[in-house]
Symmetry: C2
Subunit: 452 residues, 2 copies
C-alpha cells in the first residue's frame, strides 16, 4: 500500500466517522493537505454529499480552486448545494469563531459567489457561517448578485448588458469592473455610463473602487461606506477578487445595529435580539443581570471605603448626608465625559493616540465644572451647616469633578486600546469607580479640614 | 387720496424704516394683505432689492405666486437673488423660530425651487431660514436640483431627458413624476425605466411616492426614508407640490446627528457643534454645566431625605456604609431600563400608548433582577453584619430594583408624551430621582426591620 493510499484510507475513515469538533476537522485538514488533487477529486465524487462538502471546506484556498475546477459541472452543482445544507452549517457553526477563522481558509471567489447565489437573507446568514467569516464581518452582509462589467466593453455594450440584466442584481447603480479572474479593477456609476460617449471603453471611464475585504469589521466598512457617500461598495477576498456587494440599506442596518448596541452597552446591558415588547422577561433579565451583578459586586468597594472611615462618620454623622450628592455628581460628570469621548471615537473624531490630548481637555473641563459646582456647594452648605463643612464640600466637589471628567474621558480610550467595545467600560462602570474614588477624596479632605 | 393709496404709502414708510422685529413684520404683512396684486407688483419693482424681498416674503402663499408670476422675468431673477442675501436672511433669522413659522407662509413651490437652485450646502442652510422651515425640518436638508418627468413622456423620451440632464441633479436614480403645476404624481426608479418598454408612458410605470412635507421633522422623515429602503425621497409643500429631494446621504447625516444628540442627552449634556478635540474648553463646559447644576441641585433632595433619617443614622452608623451601593444599584437598574426604552422609542418599536405594557414589563424585569440581587445581598451582608442587616439589604435591593426599573421605563415615555426629547429626561435624571426614592425605601425598611 502506497503512502497516498494510506492517507486516502485515513481520510475516508475520518469522513465516515463524521468529524464534528475542531480537533477532528484539523486532523482532516492536515491529512487532506497531503493528497494530490486527483485523489481529492476522486474522494469528492465518491463520498455522500455532506461528507464531500466537509472535506472540500477544509481545503486551503488554492487547492479548493484547483479541485473545484477539476470537478465535472454536475458535481460542482452538487457540492455547492451540499455546502448550503443545515448539516454542514451546523458542523462549521459548532466551531468556536476563532478556531473557525484559523481553520477554514477563504473559499475561492468563484465558489463563494456560486454558493451565495440566489439565497434570501436568512439562507445567506447561514451560508456565511460556512464561508467562515467572523461574526461581525462585512462579508456577512454582502449580496453575491453583482452585475459586473468587463473593462473591454464599450459604453454602448455595457448599457445593453445592464438593460438585459437589470432585474436580478441588488443594485445597478454601481457597477464593479472586473477582469476574467474576477479581480476588481474599479467601478462605474450608472450615471457616468449614461452620460459617457457610447464608444468609450468601460476600462477608461471606470474609477478606483472604495472597497472592503469580506473579513473586515462591519462597522469600519460601514463608516468607510458613508464617508465616501456611496450607494454600494464592492466586497473582495484577500486576493482582491470580487465576492459580493454591500448596498446602502445593508450599511444603514449595520449602523443602526451598532448604535443600538452602543446605546445598550452604555447603560451596562446587552442589546436585545428582538423588539423590546416581544422579548420575554427572562431575555431582558439576561441582558441586564450580568453587568448589574458585576457593578453591585464592584460597589462593595464603596462599603469597604466607608468602613475605613466609619469612626469619622460616627464622630460627624452629618458627613453621611452628602454621600449621595457627591457620588451622584461624580458619576454624572464622569458619564458626560465618557459619552462624549465614546461618541467621538465611534464617528472617528478621536483616535486612541489622542489620549494625552483627551486627558488635558478633560482635566481643564473637569476643573472648570468643579470650580463652578464647588463655589456653589461652598456657599450653600456653608450657609446651612457652617463654613467648615462648606469648605469640605467646595474642595470635594472641585476634586471629584476633575477626577471624574479625567476618568470618564480615559475609560473609553483604554477600552478601545485593549480591544474592548468602548461603550462597555463606560457609564455604569465609571459611576462605580468614581463612587469609590470620590468617597476616598471626600473623607480625606474632611479629615484634614475638620481635623478628625 | 384713496384708501389703497394710503395703504401703499404706509407700506412704503414701513419698508423704508427697515422692519426688523416680529411686530413690524406682522404689521407689514397685515397692510400688504390689503393691497391688490397690481400695487404689490409696483412696489416690488420700485423698491430696492432688500426691501422688495422682505415685502415679498411676508405675502401669503397664493398672493406670492400671483405676484411673482406677474413680475417681468428680470425682476423675478432680481427678487430671487435678493431673497438669498445675508441681509434678508438676517432679518428673517432674527425672528423667534415659532414666530417665523406663524408669520411666514410657505413660498410657492416654483419660487422655492428657484430660490434654492445652484446653492451649495452652506448657502442652502442660510436660504432655508428665509423659506421659514423650522430648525429640525426635513426641508432644510433637501436639494432643489431635482430631475423630474412629465407623466405624458414615453420611456424613450424620458431616458433621453435623463441622459441630457444627468450631470446637474443630486440624483438620477429616483425620478419624481410631476404635472405642469409641479404636483407630485409619483416616482419612477431609473432601473424601472431601463427595463420598461420604450413606448410605455411614464405615467403608467410610475408608482406611489414615499414623500415628506418640507416642514416634517427630520428624524421622522429619515426613519420613513430608511423604512422604505429608498435612495431618495421627494419633498413637497402643503399642496403636494414638489419643492426638492432628499438623498440617502442627507438621510444618513440626519440619523448620525440624531444619534449623536441622543447619546449626548442620555448623559445629560448637549451635543457639541464641532469635533470634540477642536471644541474650546468653554464650549464643552457650556454643553455640560446646565444639566450638572440641575442635577446637583436636585441631589440636594437626597441630603434632605438623609437629614430626616439623621437620628437613625446616628443610632446605627453602619447603615451609612451601604448608601452608595444601594443608590448606585438603583441608578444602574433605572438606566438600563431607560436606555432600552429610549432606543425602542427612537427606532419605533415602542409608542407612547404602550405605557401600560412597558410598566408591566419593567415591573416583572425589575422584580426578577431585585430578587437575584436581594438574595445575594441578604447572604453576603447577613454573613458579615448579621441577619438583621442582611434582611434590610435583601428587602431594600428587591424594592429599589423594582422601583428603578419602572421609573426608568416610564421616564422616556413621559418625556415623549409632553413633547420633550426622551433622551433628555433619562439617565442622570433617573439616577438622581432613584437616589432620593431609594434612600426613603432604605430607611423605611431599616426602621421597620431594626425597630428603630
Amino acid at each position: 500500500m502506497t503512502e497516498t493510499q494510506a492517507t486516502v484510507d485515513s481520510v475516508l475513515a475520518m469522513l465516515r466517522a463524521q468529524p464534528h469538533d475542531e480537533e477532528q476537522l484539523e486532523q482532516l485538514a492536515l491529512e487532506a493537505h497531503l493528497l494530490p488533487v486527483g485523489e481529492l477529486v476522486y474522494l469528492l465524487e465518491s463520498r455522500p454529499e455532506t461528507e464531500a462538502a466537509v472535506l472540500f471546506r477544509v481545503l486551503d484556498k488554492d487547492r479548493a480552486l484547483g479541485v473545484f475546477e477539476s470537478l465535472p459541472s454536475h458535481h460542482q452543482a452538487e457540492l455547492i448545494s451540499a455546502l448550503r445544507t443545515p448539516q454542514v452549517a451546523e458542523i462549521i457553526g459548532d466551531l468556536d469563531p476563532d478556531d473557525r477563522a484559523a481553520l477554514l481558509d477563504e473559499l475561492p471567489a468563484s465558489v463563494a459567489e456560486r454558493l451565495m447565489h440566489g439565497l434570501d437573507a436568512d439562507e445567506r446568514a447561514m451560508t456565511t457561517t460556512v464561508l467562515g467569516y467572523p461574526r461581525h464581518a462585512i462579508g456577512r452582509y454582502m449580496s453575491p448578485e453583482v452585475l459586473t462589467l468587463l473593462p473591454t466593453l464599450t459604453v454602448r455594450e455595457a448599457m445593453a448588458h445592464v438593460r438585459a440584466h437589470a432585474e436580478e442584481p441588488e443594485t445597478v447603480y454601481l457597477l464593479p469592473v472586473v477582469d476574467g479572474s474576477r479581480t476588481l479593477l474599479g467601478v462605474v456609476g450608472l450615471r457616468r455610463l449614461l452620460v459617457a460617449d457610447e464608444e468609450a471603453l468601460v476600462g477608461d471611464i471606470a474609477h478606483e473602487a472604495v472597497r472592503a475585504r469580506a473579513t473586515d469589521d462591519r462597522e469600519d466598512a460601514a463608516r468607510r461606506f458613508f464617508g465616501a457617500k456611496l450607494l454600494a461598495m464592492p466586497i473582495v477576498d484577500s486576493e482582491d477578487r470580487l465576492v459580493g456587494i454591500v448596498t446602502v440599506d445593508d450599511a444603514i442596518d449595520i449602523l443602526e445595529q451598532e448604535n443600538t448596541e452602543d446605546s445598550a452597552r452604555t447603560s451596562g446591558s446587552e442589546p436585545l435580539r428582538r423588539a423590546y415588547l416581544s422579548t420575554p422577561i427572562i431575555g431582558i433579565v439576561r441582558s441586564r443581570i450580568v453587568w448589574l451583578l458585576v457593578l453591585a459586586i464592584s460597589a462593595i468597594l464603596t462599603v469597604q471605603v466607608l468602613e475605613v472611615f466609619e469612626d469619622r462618620l460616627d464622630q460627624v454623622v452629618i458627613l453621611a448626608l452628602f454621600i449621595p450628592l457627591l457620588t451622584g455628581t461624580g458619576g454624572n460628570t464622569g458619564n458626560q465625559a465618557a459619552t462624549t469621548v465614546t461618541r467621538a471615537l465611534a464617528v472617528g473624531e478621536v483616535r486612541v493616540r489622542d489620549l494625552p490630548r483627551v486627558v488635558w481637555q478633560e482635566l481643564r473641563v473637569g476643573a472648570t465644572l468643579g470650580a463652578v459646582l464647588g463655589a456653589l456647594g461652598f456657599l450653600v452648605s456653608g450657609l446651612v451647616y457652617g463654613w467648615a463643612i462648606g469648605t469640605v464640600m467646595g474642595l470635594t466637589l472641585l476634586s471629584i469633578c476633575t477626577m471624574a471628567a479625567i476618568v470618564g474621558g480615559l475609560m473609553p480610550l483604554v477600552a478601545k486600546r485593549v480591544g474592548a467595545d468602548p461603550a462597555v467600560f463606560s457609564n455604569p462602570f465609571i459611576s462605580t469607580f468614581c463612587d469609590a474614588t470620590g468617597l476616598i477624596i471626600y473623607f480625606t479632605i474632611a479629615t484634614a479640614v475638620l481635623g478628625l
